[in-house]
């Protein structure tokens, strides 16, 4: 975390697909060209309307440099806003063949005013193309949609579906209801129809519920972990509500929520499903089978056992074809492709995790 980049020649390393890169605006006004005048004025007058006590800042301050790598600040604007620096510091230096953009802020996923959310969503999707994907063909956009307005989300997904530069659909796992609820099903129906995975990236802003079942944590250390617990429960909801039963071609990518918990969650779901299956007769198979068939996981922040090889047990249980490398650039807990695994992978395992799994999932050449 926050060590200066080691200058490993990219040619010496395997080309990688980075499944989690965070772009940023130099200023929120960068969105104005893509926002109708009514919403430009709304944004400058009222700003975002979120479900937390502090405005314009994170409720759990990050540990250093607002959660960014200290070497990732460009001369102007926040980390992630300068494409030239992103290229030299990350895409070139780390041999990134493709990078998947995760645009989290001001995409409308956490906005309470759903009309504003829709305008933000559309603007952010246009902005991703103009600011990053058009000038840098290694990058791919995600269709950011406000999950709380499924009807609009479907419209926006369909609007972008013919554009291959949009690789997936981003909604927030900190939704207002668990994501398995039927109110979100039109989004899954559209995702399946348009052949795009649903990308669930951990979110810093709530959809109206405390981050734990016993309320709010005190420290960032806890909030950081709660993202992982929340991801487990989101996956549980998708499984038990029958989303995968109903949308047999749906694919879901779980991003930055950790992955080592997945086998244990599957065993736990299977065990209790066995006993409680009369309550959920719409499930025709053990929960673990839906996860194995429909879910992909990204690596960062990778769990680090005291005995590194223990992680190989975990990946073996998940399936080496379901894990995809990610760095989280330019965030402070960036994982370096040269050092992310503390045990030796076979060449085939490396190819799969660093490149081939993502290429197959997203249809990249």
């Amino acid at each position: 975390m926050n060590v200066p980049l080691r200058h490993t020649p990219a040619s010496a390393a395997l080309a990688v697909v980075d499944c989690d890169i965070h772009p940023a605006y130099r200023s929120p006004k960068d969105l104005y060209p893509f926002l109708p005048a009514r919403w430009q004025e709304h944004m400058s007058t009222f700003g975002e309307h979120l479900r937390q006590g502090l405005s314009g800042q994170l409720a759990w301050p990050r540990m250093m440099a607002a959660g960014m790598r200290v070497d990732s600040f460009p001369e102007q604007g926040p980390p992630g806003s300068d494409l030239a620096l992103m290229r030299s510091q990350h895409l070139d230096a780390n041999g990134v063949e493709y990078g998947m953009l995760m645009q989290l802020s001001r995409g409308g996923m956490e906005e309470r005013n759903l009309e504003f959310a829709a305008a933000l969503s559309r603007a952010v999707n246009d902005w991703q193309l103009a600011a990053f994907v058009e000038p840098e063909p290694r990058l791919r956009a995600g269709i950011v949609v406000p999950q709380e307005d499924a009807a609009f989300a479907v419209t926006e997904i369909e609007r972008r579906a013919a554009d291959p530069r949009f690789s997936q659909i981003l909604i927030s796992p900190r939704s207002s209801d668990p994501l398995g609820h039927r109110r979100y099903w039109p989004i899954y129906e559209a995702a399946q129809r348009c052949n795009r995975p649903i990308a669930l990236h951990v979110q810093g802003f709530s959809g109206g519920h405390a981050s734990t079942a016993s309320g709010w944590p005190t420290y960032y250390m806890q909030e950081h972990y709660a993202a992982s617990s929340g991801m487990q429960n989101t996956l549980m909801s998708l499984v038990f509500e029958g989303v995968f039963e109903h949308f047999p071609k749906l694919k879901v990518v779980l991003i930055e929520g950790g992955f080592a918990w997945a086998p244990a969650l599957c065993w736990r779901m299977d065990k209790h499903w066995e006993r409680m299956r009369k309550e959920v007769p719409h499930l025709t198979r053990p929960p673990s089978e839906y996860v194995r068939e429909h879910c992909w996981f990204t690596t960062q922040p990778i769990e680090e056992p005291e005995t590194p090889a223990h992680l190989a047990d975990i990946i073996g249980w998940i399936g080496w074809d379901r894990l995809m490398f990610s760095t989280d650039y330019p965030h402070w807990d960036f994982d370096d492709p040269q050092h992310v695994f503390k045990f030796t992978l076979t060449d085939e395992q490396k190819r799969k995790v660093f490149r081939d799994n993502a290429k197959a999932l997203y249809g990249l050449q």
Binding site: M63, S176, G215, T218, M221, G230, H272, D313
Partner: protein
């Protein structure tokens, strides 16, 4: 597999709770009037987490022709204590008093449940021990109840729940831990919710099976809370027992907190060594419901946990997690079984180590009883 030797210490057994009317003799005049006049004595006080008809709540062959499963001592003896050869079993009476919003009423009913437990169960069956039920959301009342019963050493732990008003590591709750540490009582967090918050960070799941699966993430949150707030530094002798938590989620938590701690140490400077070391020393988990698919996976999971000191034998009787007498998973060595069934519980509960008179058919007993 079946228990290979007698003398186990069953760390989680659930006698049926008494009816509210059965508690009337244990209440003072004011609360007796309140219960009768308001017909509160006709309420069931069943927790939403444990609906009586649910398959999880009672094994079919343990259900009674009339009355609740585990509803009398004969059933507890013939279905749990005798077949599993337990020399001790710790009773957790899961009573809905803890879900009341009126703190005084909750405290009065918790006291009545505890007195009922002592009189109806502990006085009549010497193998039984029990937890102290407390209204945790009013720590002063909880401490009062704990201290009221502290001299009765058949109570070996204080019973809290996994999903409640606030995360249990918060300083608000520290008086409970100070009193428990002083009195040699463990703190138990049992699966279950008072539903003061949604069970997940994205709201209310549709199904009961989801609420039950989500318990493990509630335990994760509680462990992070105890750890981050520095409870184990403040109360170095405290043992935290997670009951009915499952165990396979634990290695990921140990790994992830160790790693995150390296980045967040300045925020929590009182955590002076890797979190996994602290948790391995202070935290224990009861066995059932064991969430592993087979013996081989269990062996790998135990290696990932990194110590054989953390698991405590439990039947979770009469909840339905296994059939017949196969309360133990396959694949454990005799040594591992002895730790699980006897050594670890004795190490966890100071009050169980006092019982030199406890029957024991195991030669190594004197070494274990420190």
């Amino acid at each position: 597999m079946k228990v290979p030797f007698k003398g186990a210490i069953d760390c989680d057994l659930h006698p049926a709770m008494p009816s509210a009317s059965a508690l009337l003799p244990y209440l003072d005049d004011y609360w007796r009037d309140q219960l009768v006049n308001r017909h509160i004595d006709k309420y069931s006080f069943v927790l939403t987490s444990y609906p009586p008809g649910s398959p999880l709540s009672a094994r079919p062959d343990w259900r009674q022709a009339s009355g609740a499963p585990a509803g009398d001592l004969d059933a507890i003896r013939s279905q749990a204590l005798d077949p599993f050869g337990s020399r001790i079993a710790i009773c957790n009476v899961l009573h809905g008093a803890i879900a009341l919003f009126n703190d005084d009423m909750a405290a009065a009913l918790c006291s009545a449940v505890n007195d009922w437990t002592a009189h109806e169960l502990l006085d009549r069956e010497p193998r039984l021990r029990a937890s102290i039920l407390v209204p945790a959301h009013d720590p002063a009342l909880a401490v009062h109840e704990l201290e009221r019963l502290a001299d009765d050493h058949r109570f070996v732990q204080v019973l809290l729940f996994a999903m409640g008003d606030a995360l249990l590591g918060r300083r608000t709750y520290w008086p409970i831990y100070a009193a428990a540490e002083k009195q040699g009582l463990a703190i138990a967090i049992h699966a279950g919710s008072t539903y003061r918050h949604a069970p997940t960070a994205s709201g209310w799941p549709a199904h009961r099976v989801e609420d039950y699966v989500a318990q493990s993430t509630a335990f994760e949150s509680q462990l992070l809370s105890f750890l981050a707030e520095g409870v184990f530094q403040k109360f170095p002798a405290l043992k935290l027992v997670l009951s009915e938590s499952g165990v396979t989620w634990l290695p990921t938590l140990l790994w992830r907190t160790n790693k995150t701690w390296r980045g967040v140490r300045p925020e929590v400077p009182w955590i002076d060594r890797p979190p996994a070391e602290i948790l391995r020393e202070h935290v224990r988990l009861t066995l059932q419901p064991l969430d592993v698919p087979d013996g081989r996976t269990l062996a790998r999971t135990l290696e990932h946990i990194g110590t054989d000191r953390m698991l405590l034998f439990s039947t979770d009787y009469p909840h339905w997690h296994f059939d017949g007498e196969d309360v133990l998973p396959d694949g454990l060595s005799d040594e591992a079984l002895r730790k699980l069934m006897i050594d670890n519980p004795l190490e966890t509960f100071p009050r169980l180590r006092e019982g030199a008179a406890m029957s024991d058919n195991r030669g190594k007993k004197q070494e274990a009883v420190r």
